[in-house]
Structure formats: structure tokens, C-alpha cells
Symmetry: C2
Subunit: 141 residues, 2 copies
């Protein structure tokens, strides 16, 4: 059994974040030592590592909780996982597209923008009335 510091090292999850996950019920409450300190089994540490890896892949906590409950009831969970992963992939692709469009917009805006000019054409464009209302939508941030 390991203290929270070791669990943090081995899982790559910040100590404060581990306690946060516990408070939120994302991972089960670990046992305690006589002095009241958390003690983690290697199984519990594996769970923490799992959560971190999923977070690194960009999954939200709510999805990760589904994953965790699927790993518990280990029969034919793969279909649901695949669906969730594919939805997440779609979101990632959408974000990449958005950012790419953003990059283009920003590039073309700042390209006219040279040092020493009196009035900045980029700020000017952004302050103008009917500029770029078609492309710069309310698409999710």
C-alpha cells in the first residue's frame, strides 16, 4: 500500500487532483492508515493512471466515469467504448478544423500589420462595422 505521494508519482496525477477525484466520487475512497492517511493499492493507482491517460486523450470526466464502470462489468463493453471514442474523435476533428480556420483568419488579418504603421489595420478591421460576420460564427468555444 502506498501513500498519496507515491500514488501521485506512480499515476502521474497531482496530489490535489487525486483528492479532488475522491471528493467528486470519480475514484473510490481509499483505505486509511491508523494516523488517518490515505493508503492506495496498486489497483487503485492503476485506476488513477487510467483517468490521467484518458484526460491526456482529452476525454471529459463524465465519459471517463462511463469507461471506469465499463471496466468493472468487463463483458462486451467494447461497442460502447468505440462509440464514445468515435464521438470524441469527431469533436477533436471539429476542434482542429476550427483552429485551422482561426489560424487562416488571424494570418490574413495580421499580414497587413507592419511595425511602425500609425493605425493598426488589424485592430481597424476588427472594430469596423460589417467585417467577417459570416465566417466568425458562434461555433462552440
Amino acid at each position: 500500500m502506498f501513500t498519496i505521494g507515491k500514488a501521485s508519482e506512480q499515476s502521474g496525477v497531482n496530489i490535489e487532483t487525486i483528492r479532488y477525484y475522491e471528493r467528486m466520487g470519480i475514484v473510490p475512497k481509499p483505505g486509511r492508515s491508523a494516523g488517518g492517511r490515505r493508503l492506495y493499492s496498486s489497483n487503485e493507482i492503476a485506476k488513477l493512471r487510467f483517468v490521467r491517460r484518458c484526460r491526456d486523450l482529452g476525454f471529459p470526466i463524465s465519459i471517463i466515469q462511463t469507461f471506469l464502470s465499463l471496466t468493472e462489468q468487463d463483458d462486451r463493453s467494447c461497442g460502447e467504448v468505440k462509440t464514445l471514442a468515435e464521438n470524441h474523435l469527431d469533436e477533436i476533428n471539429a476542434k482542429i478544423e476550427n483552429l485551422t480556420r482561426l489560424r487562416e483568419a488571424l494570418l490574413s488579418l495580421s499580414s497587413n500589420c507592419d511595425e511602425g504603421t500609425a493605425a493598426c489595420p488589424m485592430l481597424d478591421s476588427l472594430m469596423q462595422d460589417g467585417f467577417g460576420e459570416d465566417r466568425a460564427g458562434q461555433s462552440g468555444h
Copy 2:
């Protein structure tokens, strides 16, 4: 002069968000009608629209505040703007790269994952001990 509803329509900024911007000191406090309602000039609405466009471009509020103060003192602000825009572009590029790597990782993980399999190889990989610790870094989320 326009009420907050009209200002919201014309600027594309949510009413609640306009009040939030005012509270935070991002835009100046507008005048009030006899009944205590906010009244916006078209100049103030232009500022709101400017903030929204910058937000659409992904700039954080802190940078937008710098932009706004640069538009006030309209002499040779372009150099600073360009630098901020370029830094922001770097961040966007980094995000795109990160997401692209994420997409690859997720694709290769879920590719082995077929419907009906008993134990999901994706969840398995993520739960294993020494998997992918080199590439899945703590890079900023």
C-alpha cells in the same frame, strides 16, 4: 442610444456577457436612462463587437484589454499588436499539433476495438502499466 437588448443584437454579445464585461471592467460602464437602464452609444457597441471578434479569434480577455487600450492611444500600436497576434498564432499551432497527435493516438487505440469483443483492448491498454508514458505528456490542457 440603445438598450442592452439592442446592443446585444448588434454586437453579437449575450446580454449576460455584456453585464459581465462591465462588472469585470473590460468595457466602460455605459450611461443610464431615467429608469436605471443601460444605454449604449454605437461606439460602445463597436467595442463590444470588437471584443466578440477577438474572442472568436481565440484571444483571451487579458490580451483583448491590451488591444482595447491600444486602440485608444492610436499611435504606432501595430508592432505590439503583431507580436501578440504572432504569439497567439504560435499557441494555436501548438494546439493543432497537440490535437493531431491526440487524434492519431486515439485512432490507433480504438482501431483494435471491435464490437462484440469481450474485453476491450482500448480500455485494457489504458489500464496497463507501462503504456505510452513517453508521448502522453503533461502538456498544457
